[in-house]
Amino acid sequence: MAQENGLEFEKAIIELEKKIEELRSFTDDQSLNLEDEIKQLEERAEKLRDEVYTNLTPWQIVQISRHPQRPHTLDYIKGCFEDFIEMHGDRAFIDDRAMIGGVAWLEKKPVMVIGTQKGSDTKENLYYNFGLPLPEGYRKARRLMKFAEKFGMPIITLVDTAGAFPGLEGEERGVAEAIARNLSEMSTLRVPIVVVIIGEGGSGGALGIGVGDRVLMLNHAAYTVITPEGCAAILWKDRAQAPRASEILKLTAPDLKKMGIIDEIVPEPRGGSHRDPGAVIQSVKKHLVKELGRLTSANIDQLLEERYNKFRRIGFFVPADG
């Protein structure tokens, strides 16, 4: 299937794919035989895809992780679970639409699903506030997590956000406190928690729903303490140096796995999830079923001890005199 929104580095591929599709529809209409030509183009496209997609740079991965056609939280909710009942609001101020949550059924068992929601176009993005949660989003998430704990439901969080909404409202209403509270409480919730970084993992705003027993990450997602653009602006006073910054930040799934930040990488279709959303959603589902099967049969006290140690041991330092 030809893509609508091609990224800069895959333009040549997408042009070829479009041409192939054109030729195909032309053959269908005119009952001409262009099979040879199509086959030739297919081969060229395949070679090009191999070249480009097997050696993606960190910056290209960042762009794929932000691709508007990438499946978002609601796509996963729809595709992974048999049923879903959405719950709204923080019971104090508003319902933050950037943070979705509710009870879903996975293999006939209820689970709590919580995730940040980005839109696929401008209209949707305005509705979901570009997936940038307000303090109330984190408080809603916390309320739903406590609900899950009360009824013994495992929690699944889907992370896809550039970060918490950076604005007056968030600061006024204590976004820092809301995130901090989640970090602290998620470390002690007496139900299993599985975190999946499905797209952008933007700093504290991502971590605010990102503490769990298992942290999975899609192969072309990016998880970072600061955007490459922000990092480049600080280092070289030039946001255009973002590609260089993304090399330094070690924000790709393989790098994070090496550093022990994430537990497992969920493979994506070549070129990114947007090229075959159905496949990646099924793959995430399979991982969730596997993880929950293991976690729900584990002893919760032991699980909590492991959850604590999982984050407790992250850190790189050396003896001061050494």
């Binding site: 604005g167 602290s184 959850r307 407790r312 992250i314």
Partner: protein, 281 residues
């Protein structure tokens, strides 16, 4: 998020301030009221302006002198580890050396066991002069160790934050994870029913605010301290919002319900000492 653009902002401000703050002669022009004040008087007022109560930033050492009985830690727990450079981030090692030279510390934190008003307490202070007080692996580890020690010995914990830098960019995602680490340790402290007092001083930001700084049973701040998640410049640039006067200052946070109290430096020790006994003996 982009709050890490913040340190640049504060660094510029504070260092610009410092030029006028600390000349090597007798007087200082107060950045609060622009009055010329004798350095001696500022020192006597615990580095605040005797005319307008402007609170000058103070390093961790001075903060400990101010809060701990006899001005000393009975046992210092920090200083035995220092930052590695897990990302091989450009200039990070040099920055650590520079911070070390400037503060005499291994990283942006000094901590240990002391008594405050006679009550044995675990005390940690972050230092803005060391890379903006930003939290990397060392701060995360030192704070987690201190809290675990406090749980073991049943001590209350006081953490004074001067961390405008938030989570330290130079350690990438590893810094972010220190937020989870310190917050999880504090959850255990809370479960042990031990008191945690968080003191926010100028400036405190980003990943530090969004972890241990905002998790106090009691949260107090010094007057006019800048306390934020995203820095004002980040907000102005990304959302193009006009920000009100006094935005993200301690008084603004108190008004919005984010702090228990604002305490002048002269009263800080006394206030903490009055509260500490409510923690389990």
């Amino acid at each position: 998020m982009d709050w890490f653009k913040k340190p640049k902002y504060t660094t510029v401000r504070v260092s610009a301030k410092k030029k006028t703050d600390i000349p090597d002669n007798l007087v200082t022009r107060c950045p609060g009221c622009s009055e010329i004040v004798f350095n001696k008087e500022i020192e006597k007022a615990l580095r605040t302006c005797p005319k307008c109560n402007h609170h000058f930033n103070i390093p961790a050492r001075e903060r400990i002198q101010l809060l701990a009985d006899n001005g000393v830690l009975l046992e210092e727990t920090t200083g035995r580890i220092k930052a590695a450079n897990p990302l091989e981030f450009p200039d990070y090692t040099e920055k650590i050396e520079k911070g070390s030279k400037k503060t005499g510390l291994q990283d942006a934190i000094q901590a240990g066991i002391c008594t405050i008003g006679g009550k044995r307490t675990a005390l940690a202070v972050t230092d803005f002069d060391f890379m903006g007080g930003s939290m990397g692996s060392v701060i995360g580890e030192e704070i987690a160790r201190l809290i675990e020690r406090a749980i073991k010995e049943r001590l209350p914990v006081v953490i004074v934050s001067a961390s405008g830098g938030g989570a330290r960019m130079q350690e990438g995602i590893v810094s972010l994870m220190q937020m989870a680490k310190t917050s999880a340790a504090l959850a255990r402290l809370a479960a042990a029913k031990l008191l945690y007092i968080s003191v926010l001083t100028n400036p405190t930001g980003g990943g530090v605010t969004a972890s241990f700084a905002m998790l106090g049973d009691i949260i107090m701040a010094e007057p006019n301290a800048l306390i934020m998640f995203a820095g004002p410049r980040v907000i102005e640039q990304t959302i193009r919002q006009h920000l009100p006067k006094r935005f993200q200052r301690a008084e603004f946070l108190l008004e919005h319900g984010m702090l228990d109290m604002i305490v002048k430096r002269q009263e800080l020790k006394h206030t903490i000492a009055r509260l500490l006994p409510i923690s389990c003996p």
